[in-house]
Amino acid sequence: MTTRLDLLQGTLDLLILRTLTGDPRHGWAISERIQQLSQDVLRVNQGSLYPALHRLEQQGWIVSDWGVSELGRRARFYQLTASGRRQLQKEEDEWARFTGAVGRVLRLA
């Protein structure tokens, strides 16, 4: 169970970091964005989104700040830090290696 969770978490981290490369976003916007870009294939489990955000912040990869949302209501916006950018690069590389490897196995096996 732990390994699956880790894998899931790892992927989620990657996706969160990727969606934050542009402007700051709040949690709901992050999940919407992922859903939208993956054409509804990837649905973020919302129960694990917020723990993940808090963990990433605790690791110093993202920072949060309170701002005003499009509704005029206070919301917490997350933004990538410099070390988060480096982490994103690392995770993207790993992901590419991972999918590449899986792809090779599927093609050649």
């Binding site: 709901w28 916007a29 919302q46 129960g47 723990p51 690791q59 110093g60 509704l71």
Partner: protein, 896 residues
């Protein structure tokens, strides 16, 4: 972790409410956005909200998980435990106070003792760069050693050593007679004799003027002195124009060069009033040493080992500088210098084998106290925890982990220990400060001012915290483990309390009780030993009556080289004091009363083949025995006519007489006294027998008796005779009168006047403090043990209420009930006493081996002490046990 994440973490910990609110707001926002999305897709408001919630899942769980990401859960749990523990302690304030005071006193005693050890052993000497400081010593061919050097060795080392730097020879100094101004009154002043580089090497700067310099340390250099800050304040009222003032030291003029800063102490914890260089000290006679005599060793030496040189290398080089080759035909046994040893001097005291051994008994006593206190608390905590066993059972059943419960139970102990440590630290600081102040005040001013830094160092604080930690393990862990190891069903059903089921009696707890009793007995015996010894040292126990005797010594201890001018001054002084109207009778003696400096004399009965025996002896003038009121049992005392004839006369004490002439009268016997190697033995005639008296220091085992020789004219001239004055006038008055005589006879010769009992007091004082401390500690330990027993028995009675009620219902008499309750405890007390007696015997042997003058408690006293302890402990058990007698059986049985 960087700064940012640390601040996040701290915020999570300390701004918990705010974090919580923000988290709630964040999630709420998410739900609203999601509901909005559903509404936009056509759902009505309620439906949309419900759908959003359903998708989201358990909000509280998400909150919990998000919080966990901050890694503060363990800390939050700890905070919970602390709150819970504090609440429990608040609910039983008596327990809390007893526990905290008990553990606080125990830790305080340990911390106080550790403060003293720390001050001597670990605290660096308060000088600059103490790390490479060494004390230089000599090695002899016979395996012995010494730390005093003669001038030629000092010269050789100072001039030629390449491995040492900052070589600081210090001449042994004696108090000086100092007149602050040529017309002022002479003060006996503590002097320090140091090398010219001393202050520069150790960082002794001057606040006014300059410190001593190497140029002051040349033979023939103008004599200068520097003052301690205290002396400058006391005698010169901090006069700003102190530099350049003329003071008279032992009759010679000297110039004040400066005042040393107050914080400067040097490598010894005694600060003299006045420092001068070794050269000045020799010139003004502040040291008994002589530079031109290669056999006169009077220099201590400190130095630093040069950077990059090991102590061994330095020793090898120095040994080459001072080693002596035996002159041809020399006595092979005569000790000669073979080398140098260097001892680290970075702290006041080197913790070597002998020091550790001397400290060991005290360490054991104070550690015992902590163990007893912990044993006690363990008992109390166990009782408290057992009372909660039902609650703990429920918690275990509801899935609480054992680790968490143990942690919670330990937290209570931790709180007690922490509060105790704080209390202990405060107590020890106060006690050490008070006791040391009183103790330092009893040190004569001519020794200098004691400057020992006794403020708690980080080591003391760390030690105290460490003790608290150990205490928690000792008194908290075992009960916590024991209570949580209970079987679940039994605990829930309260089976331990049920009729017929055995109350588990833990061996652990039994051992604790026995240990407490044993520990208390050991402490009681130790303080009993000390008290008995102190009684032996009482003022009247010496066999003399010295209460009204004043001693006066004019001039330095010159060791057989009294200059004629001083000898005649002394003669005039003695005659003038004898003529004082207040003086009832005076005498002179070679050695002062109550000191360890009495030499030995090898004597044998004259005639027949001599078998020599050694006796401590003194040389006295005619009225000595009248002055000290030592009764003569037979024969007569010395008289003035004897002095005129110059006959060799002796008086022996009863013990000496019995040893020398068993069964015969000693008066008029001939006594053969063994003289030096080349001189013929001398024959003395015994004219009287005096009663035995403890005339030497309390440490000395002088039961063997003494021999007194009549002082000859030569003795009076050549020896440092002490003047003993018996007067009926109040002692301060007679002391002032004697000082006035000295001032008029020889104003520039140092005079020492003090009550004869002062020397005795000085040797007893440390022991008196030791007695107070041990007795206090012992009483505290006993109190703890009694509280512990009381607690355990009341707990047992409470636990066995039903059991006992059944017995009463079935017709048990009060006696039977008492036996039921107390049998086991009394047996344990017995075991504890046996162990304690055994340990006390070992302790007695150890003390006897190291400290001869301590009385040893006889077997009778040991038995009496044990009996006393047994009855006191019995009462402590019986009081709570009596409550079992009053149990109305039916009420108790109906309770469940």
């Amino acid at each position: 972790m960087n700064l940012h994440t640390v601040s996040l973490w701290l915020r999570a910990l300390f701004r918990r409410d705010r974090m919580e609110r923000q988290l709630a707001e964040e999630l709420d926002f998410h739900l609203e956005m999601q509901a909005r999305k559903h509404r936009a897709a056509g759902a009505d408001a309620d439906e949309a909200r419900a759908e959003a919630r359903r998708e989201f899942g358990n909000v509280e769980l998400v909150k919990e998980d998000s919080r966990d990401m901050r890694h503060v859960r363990a800390l939050e749990e700890a905070a919970q435990d602390i709150r819970f523990g504090a609440r429990l302690l608040r609910r039983s304030p008596t327990f809390a106070i007893v526990a905290i005071v008990a553990i606080g006193l125990a830790i305080g005693i340990n911390a106080g003792f550790f403060t003293l050890i720390d001050a001597f052993v670990w605290r660096p000497v308060p000088v600059v760069r103490p790390e490479r400081l060494v004390k230089v010593g000599l090695r002899f061919s016979n395996g012995g050693g010494s730390i005093v050097f003669a001038h030629p060795q000092v010269e050789a080392i100072v001039a030629h050593s390449t491995t040492l730097v900052d070589v600081m020879p210090e001449a042994r100094c004696v108090p000086i007679a100092l007149r602050p101004s040529p017309s002022g009154k002479t003060l006996v002043t503590a002097a320090g004799c140091v090398s010219g580089n001393y202050f520069a090497a150790l960082g002794g700067d001057a606040t006014v003027g300059r410190p001593l310099l190497p140029s002051d340390d040349r033979i023939g250099a103008p004599p200068v002195v520097v003052l301690s800050d205290g002396f400058w304040a006391r005698v010169f009222s901090r006069a700003p124009d102190i530099v350049g003032r003329d003071v008279i030291v032992n009759g010679s003029h000297a110039t004040v060069a400066g005042v040393i800063r107050r914080e400067f102490v040097g490598v010894r914890p005694l600060v003299p009033d006045v420092w001068m260089t070794n050269a000045t000290a020799v010139a003004v006679g502040a040291t008994p040493g002589r530079l031109d005599d290669p056999s006169n060793r009077f220099f201590d030496m400190k130095a630093r080992v040069r950077e990059g040189v090991t102590r061994e290398q330095a020793e090898a080089e120095l040994s080459g500088l001072v080693a002596e080759t035996p002159p041809p035909g020399a006595d092979a046994d005569a000790a000669r210098i073979t080398g140098i040893r260097l001892m680290p001097n970075d702290a006041m005291l080197k913790l070597d084998w002998t020091t550790s051994l001397a400290l060991a008994p005290v360490v054991i006593v104070v550690a015992l106290v902590l163990v007893i206190a912990c044993a006690n608390l363990a008992n109390l905590m166990l009782s408290r925890a057992l009372v909660r066993q039902r609650e703990i059972g429920v918690r275990l059943a509801m899935g609480a982990s054992r680790g968490r419960l143990v942690r919670q139970l330990l937290t209570e102990g931790l709180l007690i220990a922490f509060a105790g440590a704080v209390l202990g630290l405060v107590l020890s600081r106060w006690t050490v400060a008070t006791v040391s102040r009183a103790f330092f005040a009893s040190v004569p001013a001519t020794f200098g001012t004691i400057a020992l830094d006794l403020s708690p160092s980080w080591r003391v604080v760390a030690y105290t915290v460490g003790l608290a930690g150990i205490a928690v393990v000792l008194f908290g862990l075992a009960p916590a483990l024991q209570v949580t190891s209970q079987s679940l069903t039994a605990a829930l059903k309260g089976e331990d309390n049920m009729l017929g089921t055995r109350i588990r009696r833990s061996r652990f707890r039994d051992a604790l009780i026995a240990a407490q009793v044993a520990g208390s007995l050991v402490l009681l015996v130790a303080s009993g030993t000390l008290i008995a010894s102190m009684r032996g040292f009482g003022a009247n126990a010496a066999g003399l009556d010295a209460a009204r005797v004043t001693t006066a010594t004019l001039g330095l201890a010159a060791q057989g080289r009294v200059p004629p001018s001083l000898a005649s001054a002394r003669a005039t002084f003695a005659a003038r004091v004898n003529g004082l109207p207040q003086a009832a009778v005076t005498a002179q003696a070679m050695r002062p009363l109550f000191t360890s400096w009495w030499p030995f004399l090898s004597v044998a009965p004259a005639g027949g083949s001599p078998s020599f025996r050694q006796f401590a002896y003194n040389v006295v003038t005619p009225h000595y025995f009248d002055v000290v009121r030592q009764p003569l049992l037979s024969g007569r005392s010395f008289n003035a006519a004897d002095s005129a004839t110059g006959a060799n006369l002796a008086i022996v004490t009863t013990s000496a007489a019995q040893t020398l002439w068993p069964g015969a009268t000693a008066v008029d016997q001939q006594l053969r006294v063994l003289e030096g190697r080349d001189e013929p033995d001398r024959i003395y005639r015994v004219v009287g027998v005096a009663s035995d008296a403890h005339s030497q220091a309390v440490w000395d085992a002088d039961d063997a008796g003494h021999i007194y020789l009549a002082a000859s004219a030569r003795d009076l001239e050549m020896n440092d005779m002490v003047l003993l004055v018996r007067a009926d006038a109040p002692q301060p008055a007679i002391m002032r009168a004697i000082e006035d005589v000295a001032q008029s006879v020889a104003a520039d010769v140092p005079l020492r006047v003090e009550p004869a009992l002062a020397a005795r007091e000085l040797t007893i004082t440390p022991l008196r403090y030791g007695t107070w401390i041990t007795t206090g500690v012992g009483a505290f330990g006993l109190g703890l043990a009694l509280i512990g027993l009381y607690g355990v028995v009341s707990f047992t009675v409470a636990q066995r209420r039903r059991d006992l009620a059944v017995h009463v219902a079935m017709g048990a008499s009060p006696r039977d009930v008492m036996r039921l309750v107390l049998a086991r405890e009394l047996k344990l007390i017995g075991v504890g006493l046996a162990v304690g007696l055994l340990l006390s015997t070992v302790e007695g042997q150890l003390i006897g081996a190291f400290f001869v003058p301590l009385a040893s408690l006889g077997p009778g006293a040991l038995v009496a002490l044990s009996a006393l302890l047994f009855s006191v402990a019995g009462v402590a058990c019986a009081v709570p046990a009596r409550s079992a007698l009053g149990l109305p059986p039916m009420t108790v049985l109906r309770q469940e």
